[in-house]
Symmetry: C2
Subunit: 340 residues, 2 copies
């Protein structure tokens, strides 16, 4: 039992509790118990499916969910175009730097881009709070008192207070890199008083670039495979997140060249094809759904991530880093099954 | 140039700047420029050397620096004993869970422990601030005004202010999991008003255990290979950090069983031997030194991590997570060379 039980950390689902000893729920048990009505299908048109070369006969598929507009809209438009013309087919993973990023693109650095790839200005690294307010719950610029988002934010902040009234308040503000962080409409965001941006959490996908004013096109991409490198926030476009198969990137051999680039072509991992899921035949089209982040189960999940009370834990943390609060996402058998 | 230049992120050393265009220093250039007098040799008796089975003829050596007393003293004493009797020889890496931990120990879970392995109480998960004060600069319990450590802390906090006077202050307090975080005598620590503990940053090594009141012996260990799982802080003993070769653990195939345990023995990575460096023959003994964290170069390094101003960056972060401020450590050719 020692190893199997060691480090259980409550990640496995709690067995039905005997009435006399109710086991506090774990984040996983809360998510498993969420009703179907709290899950939202992720549109196939927002999923980028990257098939690496198979290994030992086993496929290696990585699925990336693109950030919604208005975040990084220019770059994601470019990426949709690149997938449509199959630009990434035959490219490769060229760099894996430990505790940092895995990066892919054209190893020759000479492959021409298709027509229609537009440069994006640096101003698009952040999104004005007003622009979010148009499409989503309003986000107040200077305080959160009067807006619906402000009410939501206070409600979210109070989650922690509700669970541990004695603990210090305000974990939403206890972030080293932003004035405020939250999960907003399914995604982590960080803000100052004027703008929002997506933080470089584990699995987030960003756009490689040259020095300013270059902002990258979206043809060269990386994903975070270590401690969140938040110093990149607002300096690079974040365009998506890996929602399946990140282990095919994070477990690759680290490159031994500068910055983790591979020294020889043979070390690279070939990319067979990259497509939007909506362009794949139905039988080969992956489908996912995410837990609605304005739902009661999500609020309970967030509270449990901030304060673990199941058997493994002696001391609840009293807070949670924005990058330790991944939005629950699960695969569904086919697209129709997400409409059940 | 595109890929090679993309994501340079200032990690490469800055070339000597032309006088007319001084390039702001990077964290790496600051460390590279630190004088020899600011480097401290790490005692060989504090290094645990773990040799995994070689792969493709190449050795896979992982080096762990044990935390200093009084942190985790009971567990590290057990680990020294286990290394001395060669207990880990023939054990294996049994679990690799993506964005979480790689864990090793006895796969049979039946190997008897040697005499002299003492249980450690749960109270040792944290270290009273008073206990640190005995051996190190005093740490004030309720405020930092009167102690030497308090002065150091204010000085450290002011680093950020010095570099970016206009930015919000107080990143040492902007941590989701503790009231205060800092680099203390070479190690990251987190504190509340009474105790200090070591945070679960990338590469930190912890002790697997069963449910409370079991605290583990130190025979089963794991290291963090993803976003810092800080909810484990104060719930598990942190006994060291990987200072070399973590890529041999972080790039292993992820286990497909529950919690990332491998399903079959053939998937495990054999551990050939584990020794204290001081018990290895001089010719096989690795040696390392770390940058003194009370030195001027370290202060400049921390300030640069919090506010990158080199060419790649448009917006300095204005802060840094305690787990994004690794203490610079470097290999030296042999033990004597660290005394030059």
């Amino acid at each position: 039992m020692t190893i199997a039980a060691a480090l259980l950390m409550g990640l496995i689902q709690v067995a039905p509790a005997a009435p006399q000893t109710p086991e506090p729920p774990t984040p996983a048990s809360i998510v498993a118990g969420a009703p179907r009505s709290d899950w939202r299908a992720i549109p196939a048109a927002d999923l980028l499916v990257m098939d690496l070369s198979s290994e030992g006969g086993r496929p290696r598929r990585v699925v990336i969910q693109l950030v919604p507009a208005p975040f990084a809209a220019g770059w994601t438009a470019n990426m949709r175009r690149l997938a449509a013309v199959r630009w990434w087919d035959g490219t490769a993973v060229v760099r894996v730097q430990d505790n940092y990023v895995a990066q892919w693109g054209d190893p020759t650095e000479k492959k021409p881009l298709p027509p229609g790839i537009a440069p994006v200005p640096e101003s698009a690294y952040v999104t004005p709070l007003d622009a979010i307010a148009d499409a989503r719950p309003a986000v107040s610029a200077n305080d959160f008192a009067d807006s619906k988002a402000g009410q939501q934010r206070r409600a979210a902040a109070s989650i922690r207070g509700t669970v541990t009234p004695a603990a210090p308040q305000g974990w939403h503000e206890r972030d080293s890199y932003a004035e405020w962080v939250e999960i907003f409409d399914g995604w982590p965001i960080a803000t100052d008083k004027a703008n929002a941006w997506m933080p470089h959490c584990y699995g987030m996908v960003g756009v490689g670039r040259n020095l300013s004013p270059d902002t990258g096109t979206g043809a060269e991409l990386y994903t975070v495979i270590g401690q969140a490198p938040r110093h990149l926030d607002r300096n690079i476009a974040v365009v998506g997140r890996v929602i399946a198969g990140i282990e095919h990137l994070s477990s690759l051999k680290r490159g031994t060249g500068d910055l983790g680039f591979y020294r020889t072509p043979g070390e690279r991992t070939p990319i067979v094809r990259v497509r939007l899921a909506s362009d794949l035949p139905p039988g080969d089209r992956p489908a996912f759904e995410m837990l609605a982040t304005d739902s009661e189960p999500f609020a309970a999940y967030a509270a449990a991530r901030a304060n673990r009370r199941d058997a493994f834990f002696n001391v609840p943390a009293g807070g949670v880093d924005i990058c330790n609060l991944p939005v629950p996402i699960r695969a569904v058998k086919d697209e129709r099954s997400s409409d059940r």
